[in-house]
């Protein structure tokens, strides 16, 4: 199995993730990957509405958000989270990856998009990129320790 260097916050703590997907398997798969990247699962949600509540409760460093979900879809959830937390870092994770969908998610404030089935090396590079966007400095999750290696 491919080994990955740990993605850490600037304070050298593990990056805290909120994983949002209505599929238990998709969540388990993503959780497995973030553990491979040295991250910490801060919370899980199975729909967009719960994701908003969980975001407010745990203030994660990164959200991995599905698009098609019951109750509230991912793109609407992104819009509401970003309205309250302009610095939210949200990566969309969906099997539907056509341009209109990606554009809609980015316009609502998502930072990036990854298509399912998710390849660990692709997600890793996207997280590196998203975490490198440091808005304020202290305490922000930006530092990367280690490099990807086979």
């Amino acid at each position: 199995m491919k080994q990955f260097g740990a993605l850490l916050r600037k304070d050298n703590q593990p990056v805290r993730y909120l994983v949002v997907d209505d599929s238990v398997f998709a969540r388990k798969n993503l959780i497995k990957m973030i553990e491979m990247f040295g991250g910490e699962l801060a919370g899980e949600a199975g729909d967009g509405l719960t994701a908003i509540a969980e975001y407010n409760r745990i203030k994660p460093d990164i959200v991995l958000m599905d698009i098609t979900m019951p109750q509230m879809e991912g793109i609407e959830s992104v819009e509401r989270i970003v309205r309250q937390h302009a610095d939210a870092r949200i990566v969309m994770v969906s099997s539907v990856g056509y341009q209109e969908n990606i554009l809609a998610a980015l316009q609502k404030g998502a930072k990036h998009f990854v298509q399912k089935p998710v390849k660990p090396e692709v997600l890793y590079e996207i997280l590196r990129y998203v975490l490198s966007d440091d808005p304020n400095g202290a305490g922000a999750p930006v530092a990367l320790a280690g490099e990807s290696r086979s």
């Binding site: 238990v24 798969n29 497995k32 099997s95 341009q99 209109e100 399912k116 089935p117």
Partner: protein
Amino acid sequence: MRMELIQPFINAADAVFAESLQAPTKIVDVEMDEDAYRRKGVAALILIKGDIEGRVILDLSPEVAVKVASVLAGTEMEASEQVVRETVCELANMVIGNSVTLLNDQGFHFKVFPPEVHMNEAGLAGSADTEALVICIETPCGEIFLNIAMRYLHRRAERSAVPALD
């Protein structure tokens, strides 16, 4: 049967199974089916309506579903109706999502309905007016079947009148 409409589903299924199960897959059988669909195991039916219309059925045995679930979850899963149902839905969503991406980027617009899972003894109603292509894909977990019936609803030149995919 328009192969340009079917091919994206075959390509997506092949890629999704190989990537999800981390092993090569092989198409072992392709046949035309003009009769009502006879389910082979647990099936997820997905309807598509718009510039093109039709349905895709993803079908696998409960035993194969549990093996797939264990690979997807990265841990041994116990057989249960919920596990089987979730697995079939997740696979169907990934295959359809990737196919829709390919078709949408070619300019087709349509709505995809959420998967309907069929597990009980009652079979799936066939589509009497549409012939279907049945594909058997061999994976490390066992055989997975795709039954695809797809047709153009409008000529492509007329499709600007059709609401966009949501």
